[in-house]
């Protein structure tokens, strides 16, 4: 299993425990969560002021994406034809390993020694940086957050804010070491200076790299273009300065027309950062024309499956609508208790809890579909109406169907089902349990130690049931 090979999702509980105990991380998460939520809320207010109905817009965005996913084969062919006709080369990759081989091959054929990268989560799926380095090609991440994460030798902990887990002090020590300068005392007031430092260092990489590697927020079938959305301008740099541009993108990223793209752009930035539009939105089509003086001489699209095609027409096809805005994790109580690294693979938060088992194998990410409170905050903010909790429930069912749950849990559920099918016995047992729980409570009416499963009362007290069971009350009422 090449995909599951680098997933750590099976160690979710151990990783989660470590993150909960990481005081610095917890402080950062606590600070950031209200910012993310408030930004999107403000973005939605802006839409309403312009006369939009947010639910109507979400419905329209979901419909656009559904149209593509429902006929994905056809849209892929249309995109491929039009992209080729515009002068780009279109390649296909079955998995991450094939992506890495194709990129290394293109780099070697064009004499590339350095590649500047704009943020691409798919390149994380393919572990592209490792493959490039192994081939003697230097990969440089240019999104500031990705750059920080690369210097730290880590992976992103959030899909749009990759270094959200890093404190200013940590960034300072990384910069001091990488830029070979003395360590300084830093406060929030120094953040502009630190950003300027990264700008100066990365500028030289933009000017010297022979290859630019980017993802695509969307592929536009009508024109065969890649759409790239960034705030820092690194997306424009990567696709303007080097002589070769490689776009790595999932096969599901297509939208039919420029009008559809316009509709999606009303929700993508607002869902992600609350912005009405990101600073830079670029549509890239073909390669540099004969009389043009900048832009890449060669443009290559790599359309990647890596588990996506298997979702077409399945119970999980709705997940293919995802536009990678990050709103689900920004509103997730589990994500903000743990941070992104607990999830153990490329995608954290609710979308990761669905995608990781689907892309790396249900048996390789058993805890993720359970890393949910079922609150549906994710589902209610998703710009393309993906029912994330329902998909997590379906994954739990599959675990059960395939006998992947622990025997104790399976036995307990079977016993429950047996009991629930016998109403008389069920009532008798629930009366006994209610009485037992009341007997466990102390004078103040709290259960301090829960005899059968003491773990439940390790960090909290339980409240006993207040009185007779529902069936007892109902029966008494009928008699009266």
């Amino acid at each position: 299993m090449s995909i599951a090979g680098h997933s750590q999702a099976m160690f979710f509980q151990a990783r989660a425990t470590a993150q909960v105990r990481n005081a610095g991380l917890q402080k950062t998460l606590k600070k950031v969560r209200p910012l993310f939520v408030a930004k999107r809320a403000k973005g939605v207010v802006g839409l309403v002021e312009d006369g939009f109905d947010i639910e109507e817009l979400r419905g329209a965005c979901a419909a656009i994406r559904r149209r593509v996913v429902d006929d994905l084969d056809v849209w892929l062919e249309i995109f491929e034809e039009r992209a080729s006709a515009s002068g780009a080369e279109v390649l296909w990759a079955r998995d991450g390993g094939e992506v890495a081989r194709l990129v290394v091959d293109i780099a070697q054929r064009h004499g590339v020694t350095k590649a500047v990268k704009s943020k691409s989560m798919l390149s994380e799926e393919a572990r592209l940086n490792e493959a490039l380095s192994a081939a003697g090609i230097c990969p440089v991440e240019t999104d500031l957050g990705e750059y920080i994460v690369q210097l730290a030798g880590e992976t992103p902990s959030h899909i749009i804010a990759p270094a959200v887990h890093k404190t200013i002090g940590e960034v300072e020590s990384l910069f001091a070491e990488a830029h070979q300068r003395p360590l300084q005392e830093r406060s929030s007031a120094d953040i502009p200076a630190m950003a300027a430092e990264a700008r100066a260092v990365l500028r030289q990489h933009f000017l010297s790299a022979e290859m630019g590697i980017s993802g695509a927020n969307f592929l536009i079938a009508e024109s065969g273009s890649a759409a790239l959305v960034t705030n820092e301008g690194n997306g424009r740099m990567v696709t303007t300065m080097p002589r070769v541009h490689v776009v790595i993108t999932g096969i599901e990223k297509i939208v039919p027309t420029l009008e559809d793209f316009s509709t999606l752009m009303r929700l993508l930035p607002r869902s992600a950062t609350g912005q009405s539009i990101s600073n830079y939105v670029s549509l890239l089509t073909g390669a540099r024309g004969a009389n043009e003086s900048d832009g890449p001489e060669k443009t290559v699209f790599i359309l990647v499956d890596n588990g996506r095609a298997a979702l077409a027409g399945s119970d999980f096809a709705e997940m293919l609508r995802c536009i990678r805005c990050g709103a689900c994790m920004n509103h997730c109580p589990v994500y903000f208790s743990l941070g992104g690294h607990a999830y153990g693979w490329v995608y954290p938060g609710p979308m990761g809890s669905v995608l990781t088992p689907l892309y790396t194998g249900v048996e390789n990410a058993l805890d993720l579909p359970h890393a949910s409170t079922g609150c549906n905050q994710c589902g209610s903010v998703c710009p393309v109406n993906i029912p994330l909790p329902a998909l997590m429930h379906r994954l739990r069912e599959i675990q059960n169907e395939r006998g992947l749950r622990p025997w104790g849990e399976r036995l307990a559920l079977r016993a429950w089902a047996w009991l629930a099918g016998r109403p008389g016995l069920y009532r008798w047992v629930s009366r006994r349990i209610a009485r037992y729980l009341r007997w466990l409570a102390d004078d103040s009416g709290r259960i301090r130690v829960f005899g059968l499963a003491p773990g439940w009362t390790e960090g909290r007290d339980l409240t006993p049931p207040p009185g007779p069971t529902f069936h007892e009350l109902y029966a008494a009422r009928k008699r009266a």
């Binding site: 705030n231 830079y280 089509t285």
Partner: protein, 216 residues
């Protein structure tokens, strides 16, 4: 089997639909007759909307009556910012009376040393306060990207309401997309260190818009 064939076959197997030709025709027809999504309700004064949104996104905005006044406005802005009266410019603004204003321009691709880039725009979008620039032989993208200061000339007659309107204009005037369409909304920014927004990431740190024409 090639990766392409294998992936398409996997998708088709999952979808379980036949009638490839019929589905293809339906998709092509959708491309020929694009559907508009929900549209904003904007005030009729698009110039005011554009200017206020652009200012909100941290661009500075000024208004002159006619194109002839642009070079002196640029000279004044550069002097106010303490910048040299020297800039790289795109071909669409090369014909202005720059010598008369004292601003020296070079019409070429931008290089790292350029402090200021001056460009026109294809059009501008009122809904979001966004510039739409097309890269081309006369209008290299680097001019609006490498210099720390980007000055854009925006004729008010080229301000449209929405991105959809901008695409309609593009189809009408050019037929197809150029190599790069760049939508620019203010100076570049990053929030990647402790979620604190800083202006001036990799692109320009300052964007100055000179609106040209009626209704100032």
């Amino acid at each position: 089997m090639s990766a392409r064939e294998e992936i398409l076959q996997r998708v088709r197997g999952g979808l379980g639909k036949g009638d490839l030709a019929g589905r293809r025709a339906a998709a092509e027809s959708l491309v020929r007759n694009p559907v508009h999504g929900p549209q904003p309700r904007l005030d009729a004064d698009l110039t005011r909307r554009f200017a206020s949104k652009a200012r909100y996104l941290a661009s500075s905005v000024e208004h002159v009556d006619c194109l002839a006044q642009v070079p002196t406005a640029v000279a004044r802005y550069l002097a106010d910012q303490g910048l040299p009266l020297l800039a790289v410019a795109t071909g669409d603004v090369a014909g202005f009376d720059w010598p008369g204003s004292g601003v020296e321009i070079a019409v070429r691709v931008a290089v790292d040393a350029d402090k200021t880039g001056i460009s026109g725009c294809f059009c501008a979008i009122a809904e979001t306060g966004t510039l739409m620039l097309l890269a081309g032989p006369q209008t290299p993208g680097s001019v609006s990207l490498l210099p720390e200061t980007h000055i854009a000339i925006v004729p008010v007659g080229r301000i449209v309401a929405t991105m959809e309107d901008a695409f309609a204009l593009l189809r009408a005037e050019h037929g197809k997309l150029p190599r790069a369409v760049n939508f620019i909304s203010g100076p570049s920014r990053t929030g990647d260190i402790e979620q604190t927004i800083v202006l001036g990431a990799h692109g320009p740190c300052r964007v100055h818009l000179i609106l040209v024409g009626e209704n100032s």
